[in-house]
C-alpha cells in the first residue's frame, strides 16, 4: 500500500538544475572579475603653455634602468622629491618635467611621475627633445 506524505513536497524547483546554473554563474564571475586597485594619472596632451615670468621647470631624466637624474646627479625618488620641494620653496623651479631617455620604459617613468607628484609641484611628461619626427606607434 502506498501512502503519500503530504507535508514535505512543497518546493517545485528541483535543486540539481538550480545549483548547476548557480555554479556556472559563480565560475563566470570568479574568472571575469578583477580586484585590481586601479589609479589614474592625468597626462597633459601639450596644450598648456608656461607663463613667461615663471622660473624654469626642473628637468628630471629617467634612465633605461629606472634611475632618476637631476642636475647631473642620480638620486632616489624620495631624495629627489625632498630636494625639489626645497627648490620650490626657494622659488627656483615652478614645475617638474620628467624626461625619459631613449631606452627608458613606461614603468620607471610612471613611478617617477607618481613619486614627484607628491611634491605638490605640477609634474608633466616631457616632449621628445631630439626625435620629433619619430614615427607614431
Amino acid at each position: 500500500m502506498q501512502i503519500e506524505t503530504a507535508v514535505r513536497r512543497r518546493h517545485s524547483i528541483s535543486l540539481t538544475p538550480l545549483i548547476d546554473v548557480v555554479f556556472i554563474l559563480l565560475l563566470f564571475f570568479m574568472l571575469a572579475t578583477s580586484f585590481t586597485d586601479w589609479r589614474e594619472i592625468t597626462l597633459a596632451t601639450g596644450t598648456t603653455a608656461a607663463e613667461d615670468e615663471q622660473p624654469p621647470p626642473a628637468i628630471v631624466h629617467v634612465g633605461a634602468d629606472g634611475a632618476l637624474r637631476y642636475d647631473g646627479e642620480t638620486r632616489s625618488a624620495d631624495e629627489l622629491a625632498q630636494l625639489l620641494q626645497r627648490r620650490q620653496a626657494e622659488e627656483a623651479i615652478a614645475a617638474v618635467v620628467i624626461q625619459p631617455d631613449h631606452a627608458a620604459t613606461l614603468g620607471p617613468t610612471v613611478s617617477a611621475l607618481d613619486a614627484l607628484a607628491a611634491t605638490g609641484l605640477p609634474v608633466a611628461l616631457g616632449k621628445n627633445a631630439n626625435d620629433e619626427t619619430a614615427p607614431a606607434p
Binding site: 596644450t47 620604459t105 617613468t109 613611478s111 607614431a136
Partner: protein, 133 residues
C-alpha cells in the same frame, strides 16, 4: 497507520541546501565586490604607482597599448591608421583613458599624445595599478 517519511530523499535535499546557500553567497560576493575586467587582446602589465590617490575603473572605450606598440580600442585590435577615424568620433571635451604596458618605451607615448591632441582630446588619463607600500 503511521508511515515514516522516505529517509533518502530528505537527507539529500537537506545536505544540498547549505551548499546552495554558500554558493549563492560566493556568487553575490563576486558580483558586488568585483569589476568585470575588459581584456585587451594582448597582455598588458600596468605600470605601478604608490602615491597616486585618484581611483579609477577601466572604461569600456579604453585605448590599450602593448609593449611593442600595438594598439587596441575597446578590446579590439586596431591598426595605427584606424586610430584617427576612431578619434574623429570621440565626444568633445571627454577624457580618454589609456592603458599602456609598463615595458613600452616611454618615448613612444609622446607621438601618440601629439596625435590625440591634434584630434582634439584635451585630457588623457593613464591607468595604473596601485601597489601598497
Amino acid at each position: 497507520m503511521i508511515v515514516p517519511p522516505p529517509k533518502r530523499q530528505r537527507s539529500l535535499d537537506d545536505s544540498i541546501l547549505p551548499l546552495i546557500n554558500v554558493v549563492f553567497l560566493l556568487l553575490i560576493f563576486f558580483v558586488v565586490a568585483g569589476v568585470i575586467a575588459r581584456q585587451a587582446p594582448f597582455d598588458i602589465i600596468l605600470p605601478q604607482t604608490m602615491r597616486t590617490e585618484t581611483r579609477s575603473v577601466p572604461a569600456e572605450q579604453i585605448l590599450a597599448i602593448a609593449a611593442d606598440g600595438r594598439l587596441a580600442f575597446a578590446g579590439e585590435p586596431i591598426a595605427s591608421a584606424e586610430l584617427d577615424d576612431i578619434l574623429a568620433t570621440w565626444p568633445e571635451g571627454e577624457a580618454l583613458q589609456i592603458q599602456a604596458d609598463s615595458d613600452l618605451p616611454a618615448r613612444q607615448l609622446n607621438p601618440l599624445l601629439e596625435r590625440l591632441r591634434r584630434a582634439g582630446i584635451v585630457e588623457v588619463r593613464l591607468l595604473t595599478q596601485h601597489q601598497s607600500r
